[in-house]
């Protein structure tokens, strides 16, 4: 009972803050409401007992990525006059929502029909660090390694892009 109430409160919080994220005029409002979205999603994970997902969501998304985005927003020091002029923003958002709505209905019914809905967790409160670690390193080792190579490549790419070109200077 309490879990359901919490679930609806958190979902409402996620939806509202996501709406603010796309409709806010100033970038800093958007970034801060995005933090609320991410932390609420983390809370949803915690509600399911997935403690490891909760921690990574907060450490990586809320703690690191959003902090960098906010840092850059502050660094650029955007004034009101630098923001693009969007006179029909509300109308655009309303109509695009209406356009997407039928697809959403189809998507929800598809998800409800998929076998994943009824699939139970291996046991209650699955999602601690040991469970996730053993699943990753036993069942999905190759995928995991490929993803880490991808991350390494992007890391090296970022460094080589940021490095100053000596010939130009």
């Amino acid at each position: 009972m309490l879990n359901e109430v919490l679930f609806y409160i958190l979902s409402a919080l996620i939806l509202v803050s996501a709406l603010v994220l796309i409709s806010a005029r100033r970038p800093i409002d958007a970034a801060l409401s995005f933090i609320v979205t991410l932390v609420s999603i983390a809370a949803l994970f915690a509600l399911q007992g997935s403690s490891f997902l909760f921690a990574t969501q907060i450490i990586i998304y809320a703690g690191a990525i959003l902090a960098l985005i906010l840092f850059i927003i502050m660094f650029l020091n955007i004034q009101d006059k630098n923001l693009p002029d969007e006179p029909h923003k509300k109308r655009d958002i309303t109509f695009s929502t209406l356009a997407v709505l039928p697809f959403t209905v189809v998507l929800i019914s598809l998800i409800n029909k998929s076998p994943l809905v009824d699939q139970a967790l291996p046991y209650d409160l699955f999602g601690g660090i040991k469970d996730i670690g053993s699943v990753i390193f036993n069942d999905y080792l190759l995928v995991f390694e490929l993803i880490s190579i991808l991350l390494l490549v992007s890391l090296i790419g970022a460094v080589s892009l940021a490095k100053e070109d000596k010939d130009v200077k």
């Binding site: 800093i28 801060l32 933090i35 403690s51 490891f52 909760f54 921690a55 990574t56 907060i58 450490i59 809320a62 703690g63 690191a64 902090a67 960098l68 906010l70 840092f71 502050m74 660094f75 020091n77 601690g128 660090i129």
Partner: protein, 420 residues
Amino acid sequence: MHELLILTPFILTLLFSLATVPLLVWMERRIAALIQDRYGPNRCHVGGIRLAGIIQSIADMMKLVFKEEVAPSHIKNRFYYLVAPSLIFIASFLTFMVIPYADNLELNGTSYVMQALPTDLGILWFIAFAGLSVYGIIIGGWASHSKYAILGSLRASAQVISYEVSMGLAIVSLLLTYNSIHLNDIVTYQSQTFFGFIPAWGIIMQPLATLIFVITSFAETNRAPFDAAEGESEIVAGYHTEYGAMKFGLFFVAEYIAMAASGALMVTLFFGGYQLPWLTTQDLITHFDILSGVIIGFGLIFMFLFLRWMRRNNSYNEKSKRETKIYAVTIVLFSLSLFSLIAYSIYAGYSDDQKHIGVMLIQFSIFAAKIFTLHFIYIWVRWTFPRFRYDQTQKLGWNILLPLAILNIVITAIVIIGVN
């Protein structure tokens, strides 16, 4: 009793975080004075009782609470301006919730966990909320709408983000050693010995990780020598320049709570947590009679030494003689009644539950002693080292600590594979 035991870790969290803040402020001022060869605040009193100056920091806290709340008129985003100090306060306070204050208490078949949040996340929880505290600084600096504040918050956030990387990597090598992320498991691991006589404390098993972790947690808490974010000689007070009264107070208290939390984590990770070296919890329980005898002996010696020291040194003016007398009577009455209670219990024989609870209390006090030693070191460092210049901070973080941390992970992994 059942409810009380469940509430105990929460009460201890409040004691170690909020209630120690006036004590830490006092320590900071008196140790600064000690290092600079002066007295420090010691004259504020209530009816002649000065408590060595603690009254001053209580008066300070009361001043912060009752001061008029003023907001500068140039603040455009009052919501962000007001929410920032609470954010940093909440995040620092939450980091404290996973610290184990004593071993799990077994009473009548039920096990009580002496952590405020008995989650299996352990150290991940600490990293998560220590990372969130940077938002308070960012938002506060941005909403203050002043150049000093925004410079300070830019410095602080860049520093916290870059030192978090090395801190995380240092923790990875620790987790390889301890084989668990649960803080209570980590403490239990440290009660072992290797080669039969060296306690397996983190500082001995992982000296490099200890060094990196200590440096990065100084930087994470924005304390000297990494406090360029509030460098008063260049940018007034940094990110809290535009804050006053309790809004500033929250920033101020949050800094001390963050310091206390990282001190508690350091105790847990590197200094054996609530354990004494060479003695596991089970040893303490089996030899509890001897232990309480030792406590009485040392307690009496310390009491006499302290009384002698106080009689010689507490001579500020004529009034302080009366003060010394009051202290002496209180100390003697309290410790004698405590010791006679212990002595009577030894004579009457302990029941099993009493032994368990007694060991728990001893472990609380060991933890407190260790954490206050670390606070002393924090303060000592602050008043001894000059502030790093900002580019030096970044250079230390990225060019020295990060490669060292990665090297340490590789070494740890090789050693672990070699040993197994």
